[in-house]
């Protein structure tokens, strides 16, 4: 079920009404939340439910056993079992064919002929998100940072919580589970905030990302046919598309969750106003970056130790992060490029220079970082490495060709996005600025803004497009 679908427009009010009608009984409320989450997820394919159920059951049982196990070896074995199961799921559904195809190619190069079986299976939506969520639960118990929950329903609701199930934010058990395990009361201000955040998310997704998508498809679909300027525009538009698509989803997810009285973690903090690549990674897909930081980078030694170790750790985190997005060399290359951009800052100890909010005097550095990020995104968007190189080559050769027809209304909407993001850069999301300043005092101004955004969403919401991050 997509957030931008008619079915969801019917689903959400029903779930909202039932959820709050059951607010006197926490257990009934959680059963209701779990049922709603499974309906939401099963809407894609009922078969996917078996995987999420299996992942939930395995980590619930391993978590219980980890808590009572005192023997170090046994604890390690239990943790390994969780890793083996969750990464095994990812390995089979997401990476098996990639490894087999590359293995076949390598074998052919060295003169062996192999013909391993490839799997013809669909990638379950959101598998990379919920497996990471369950793994963090088990790891935290292993590290004695978290106690296991005895309430299976609450745990299953944590794993399958529908607002963030298919594309994050990847929640930590330490944040989400306690909220699910205790009574919740309807909070008017939180609900209003949620509506605002959802509205801004829908604006980003429906009005901008979906309108930009066909232009990006045109440029990337025929890099030899379009002029260099059109290809540059195509790459810039993809930067905008992926930001609006993914951060739009996160805003909707966080906003919907607030309607249920549950706070999810911030996933984006105006990343395109970053002044260097290190800052970009503190502002982009925060839930994934911090996941890798806490469960991979720091255990490997982080930025401590010898220079060679720092270099190894940096490459490890960025390459794994790239690979997490999909089984394609393009994602690995994208990770590699980001590692190469981040490394000089780390080695010069300048990776934590920009911890405050950007100001207008930083514009040149913001534009430079945005340009570099856009070049890296070309690899992310391309179908293959040769496609990405072809795309860049056509820009470098300054070829003539077709132009992209970008409507002035789209440019105006993108301008509105960046103005909104700039004004709201010190807040969790752009429309959060409405709770302070002039707009907080003028109901008419606020209402006009809501109307304009809602009108634009209605106007552009004809053909529902899936979210890019669903494929990961």
């Amino acid at each position: 079920m997509l957030f931008n679908s008619l079915s969801f427009a019917v689903f959400l009010p029903i779930v909202f009404a039932l959820y709050w009608a059951l607010s006197n009984s926490l257990r009934s409320q959680n059963i209701m939340l779990l049922a709603a989450s499974y309906i939401f997820y099963g809407w894609w394919d009922v078969r996917f439910l078996s995987l999420i159920l299996a992942s939930t059951a395995v980590d619930y049982l391993l978590g219980q056993n980890l808590a009572i196990a005192t023997n170090t070896l046994k604890r390690k074995l239990l943790l390994t079992a969780s890793m083996f199961f969750n990464l095994g799921l990812l390995g089979i559904f997401k990476y098996y064919n990639f490894f087999m195809e590359n293995f076949m190619e390598m074998a052919n190069i060295i003169g062996f002929s192999t013909n391993p079986t490839l799997l013809n299976i669909a990638l379950p939506v959101g598998i990379s998100f919920y497996t990471f969520q369950t793994m963090s639960y088990t790891i935290d118990i292993y590290r004695n940072k978290l106690g296991p929950t005895k309430d299976f329903i609450a745990f299953a609701a944590f794993v399958g919580y529908f607002p963030q199930l298919v594309a994050g934010p990847i929640e930590r058990a330490s944040n989400l589970l306690p909220q699910i395990s205790k009574s919740r009361y309807f909070d008017y201000q939180k609900a209003v905030d949620g509506m605002r955040q959802g509205l801004w998310g829908f604006f980003k997704k429906v009005v901008i990302a979906d309108a930009v998508a066909p232009l990006v498809d045109q440029a990337f679909g025929d890099p030899n046919g379009y002029s260099a300027i059109a290809l540059i525009a195509g790459a810039l538009l993809f930067s905008i598309q992926i930001y609006c698509d993914f951060s739009g989803y996160s805003d909707i997810a966080i906003g919907i969750s607030k309607l249920f009285g549950i706070d999810l973690m911030q996933n984006f903090r105006t990343p395109y106003f970053s002044r260097d690549i290190a800052e970009f990674w503190r502002r982009w897909h925060i839930s994934l970056s911090t996941w890798f930081r806490d469960y991979l980078y720091i255990p490997l030694g982080g930025s401590r130790g010898a220079t060679l170790l720092k270099i190894r750790n940096t490459f490890a985190i960025f390459i794994v992060s790239g690979f997490w997005h999909g089984s394609n060399w393009t994602f690995i290359t994208w990770g590699l490029i980001n590692a190469l951009l981040f490394l000089p800052l780390l080695l010069a100890k300048q990776n934590r220079n920009n911890l405050n909010n950007p100001e207008i005097k930083d514009l040149h550095r913001i534009l430079l970082t945005f340009s570099i990020t856009t070049i890296a995104w070309i690899f992310f968007r391309a179908d293959s490495l040769s496609h990405a190189i072809d795309y860049l080559q056509n820009i470098a050769l300054w070829n003539e060709g077709k132009s992209l027809s970008i409507k002035p209304t789209l440019i105006a909407c993108v301008a509105l996005l960046f103005i909104g993001d700039w004004i709201g850069r010190k807040h969790d999301f752009a429309l959060n600025t409405l709770s302070e300043g002039v707009l907080s005092k003028s109901t008419l101004l606020r209402l006009t803004l809501y109307m304009c955004l809602a009108y634009l969403i209605l106007l552009y919401s004809g053909e529902q497009q899936s979210f890019i991050y669903f494929q990961f």
Binding site: W20, S23, F186, V192, M451, Y455, L458, L459, E463
Partner: protein, 294 residues
């Protein structure tokens, strides 16, 4: 006591939330309602302004080649319009505008097989739905992949304020600039006569009959003009299509024009530029007068 208080607060804040949300939704619905009413009123004005007279119909050939002011007519042609859509459009026109004359511009590609796929082909179907949704019954759209999207797309048109009142399926004169783009002959041929589609459009053959019959029933003069084409393009049209085209036009009241347009009057392989459109329409006006005298 504490629980009662919490429950009371939660109930009152929920009530406040629902009331405010309903008010905002109502306001949005009111805004949309006003827009729809405004568009409806403007459409009625458009209908009132275009009663009687001559109406030019067809696809991009008619939209670019026939200057309506020279003929004192209304050009309602639409780019890429299949004849099936033209025939449906004519039903609406005859019912609402009661024209005296219909001038249909035809070209061999109107009978090529790709026309049958304009409502299902990914490239065109969305645009066709946006324009022609109100003209076809629900059952027509259910033949295609996503009738709901077609419906939503069509209703979305109502959300845009349209001061002109022109319905989405009514096109207009779209002159082409005076610049050379005549190197697209092969590309145009590939698009119009793509071998992946059947050679002949069955829906277009039926539609032209429907158009002719409708005009006869409604006692509307039905004139046909053949679109000017660059000789290199014209000579490369597949024989099978040309034969069907010639057989169909032989049964229609085609205005014969003795005019040879220079290449400089063409915008591309099968469309005139503004100069060409003016020259061609003047010649057409003369030919129509001559035909009427006879």
């Amino acid at each position: 006591m504490g629980n009662n208080r919490a429950s009371f607060i939660s109930n009152s804040s929920m009530r406040q939330f629902i009331i405010r949300f309903s008010m905002v939704s109502l306001l949005l619905a009111l805004t949309v309602g006003l827009l729809v009413t405004f568009n409806y009123w403007r459409t009625q004005c458009f209908i009132a302004q275009h009663q009687g007279g001559t109406i030019i119909l067809g696809d991009s050939h008619a939209a670019t080649d026939i200057h309506p002011q020279i003929l004192n007519a209304s050009n309602f042609a639409h780019t890429a319009e299949p004849l099936l859509a033209t025939s449906k459009k004519l039903e609406w026109i005859t019912k609402k505008l009661h024209p005296d004359t219909i001038l249909l511009v035809l070209s061999p590609n109107n009978f090529a097989g790709y026309n049958d796929f304009k409502f299902s082909n990914k490239q065109w179907s969305s645009e066709m739905a946006k324009r022609y949704y109100p003209l076809f019954p629900e059952s027509f759209w259910t033949q295609y992949t996503d009738p709901l999207t077609a419906q939503v797309n069509s209703y979305r048109q109502q959300l845009l304020p349209k001061p002109s009142g022109r319905p989405a399926f009514i096109g207009k004169f779209k002159p082409k600039p005076i610049q050379e783009k005549r190197n697209d002959i092969q590309k145009t041929l590939n698009r119009h006569f793509n071998p992946k589609y059947p050679a002949i459009s069955e829906s277009s053959k039926l539609a032209i009959e429907t158009i002719k019959n409708k005009c006869e029933t409604e006692r509307i003069a039905f004139l046909v003009v053949i679109a000017p084409l660059l000789p290199e393009y014209k000579s490369a049209i597949p024989n099978q299509v040309l034969q069907v085209f010639n057989a169909i036009t032989a049964k229609l009241d085609v205005i014969s024009l003795n005019i040879e347009l220079p290449d400089s009057n063409y915008y591309n392989a099968d469309h005139l530029n503004l100069n060409g459109a003016e020259t061609f329409t003047k010649a057409l006006r003369a030919a129509i007068s001559e035909q009427m005298i006879r």
